[in-house]
Symmetry: C2
Subunit: 208 residues, 2 copies
DNA sequence: TAGATTGTTAATCGATTAACAATC
DNA sequence: TAGATTGTTAATCGATTAACAATC
């Protein structure tokens, strides 16, 4: 039950457990042991039990885990039991693609607004989400309660906007810009560096 | 110089070194010590030296590393010294966004073709890249030398297409579908699970 | 109850950091 | 040469796996 000192490795695995549990649910499976889950996920049963017990005893000896209960509990740990309100900075191709990830809505994520500096985009809607001028950012944030800002603009702009966002009270940034964002310690940043991901793949391919 | 037994952690860091070296280059800095790089990157100097020495001695005692040389060498390690030819499976929003990542071209990546099953898209061009029918996939692959396939279609389709790709000889998959792809051991897969990334961010935000 | 499987401690493994001799 | 910094070995730290007592 003690959530301090949870390693990054465990946090990375939680959403994957969540995904597999969702799959089990959709298959109508109501109960699973760490051993069975281990086979499906290709990780050790030991790791599954160890990981889960950082957050509490969700299973039952001799029985295993109730799929739906465990799914719900991991959802709570991940903060999916409440709506996370998002904004997007950048209405380019990537921003547009993310705006369309409507399935996020099912999982507790809701995209509220998009900001762009291109006057021809301002005032339009992208996948039914309104596009505002980047100049209105601070005003919007002071009037709306936003949890997460997504950045999909070039790196130079990204660093500046990140500063504006954190100054305006944003405490979580989903960063797609090709740079590391210098933010205060109390701000959570999750980087999605696509070109680095592709380079890793290139390395793996070359060394297979 | 010995490239066997390189841990995944190191492979993940290599593109980040590459990115910082590119930045140093663009700033006109010609030489850097592990200590200076360590400060910029917020990792230990020890880790930098340890990581690099898995691939060879790129530095010089008492001097440090030549930025351009190290940049080129890491590029070679990552396989960026040759052109990696890509195809995209799925001409949706995300596929379109990735097609536009033209800067990949600068780094040894070249998107050659897009495949979709929507007849209204087939025959068109997305960011100047031709869109073919998914039915033509095998024929295309037998006639063109492709290194990497990018998957941006729903998970059920993704698993089937991955099978077709690997059967057709593809040895590297950049996977954006919300599932793990069962592929032969000699196939490299790099997953970009966006919803899992977002869930991790939600967790971090909640536990800040 | 007997069997199964968890929760948890202990052992192992691997990755990171520290230290320093080698050397430019 | 003297100073600086690498390359590399050794020490530490943390994460994974194994083992098993607790218990449903």
């Amino acid at each position: 039950m003690n959530e301090i000192n949870i390693s990054k490795a465990i946090i990375r695995r939680l959403p994957r457990y969540y995904r597999y549990l969702e799959e089990l649910k959709s298959e109508g499976i109501e109960r699973i042991s760490s051993g069975e889950l281990s086979e499906r996920m290709k990780v050790t049963a030991s790791q599954i039990r160890q990981d889960l017990n950082h957050f509490g005893g969700f299973g039952q000896q001799g029985y295993g885990y109730k799929v739906n209960y465990l799914y719900e509990e991991i959802g709570k740990i991940l903060g999916l039991d409440r709506v996370n309100r998002l904004i997007l900075i950048g209405a380019g191709n990537l921003g547009t693609a993310l705006a369309n990830y409507t399935n996020y809505r099912n999982r507790g994520f809701m995209i509220e607004a998009i900001f762009d500096r291109d006057p021809s985009k301002v005032g339009t809607r992208v996948h039914d989400i309104p596009v505002y001028s980047i100049d209105e950012l601070e005003a919007y944030l002071s009037e709306n309660s936003i949890d997460i800002a997504t950045i999909t603009i070039p790196k130079e702009e990204a660093v500046k906007v990140a500063k504006r966002l954190t100054d305006a009270g944003i405490r979580a940034i989903w960063n797609f810009a090709h740079t590391d964002l210098p933010v205060p310690d109390d701000v959570a940043v999750e980087n999605v560096h696509l070109s680095e991901s592709l380079m890793s793949l290139s390395y793996k391919l070359k060394n297979m």
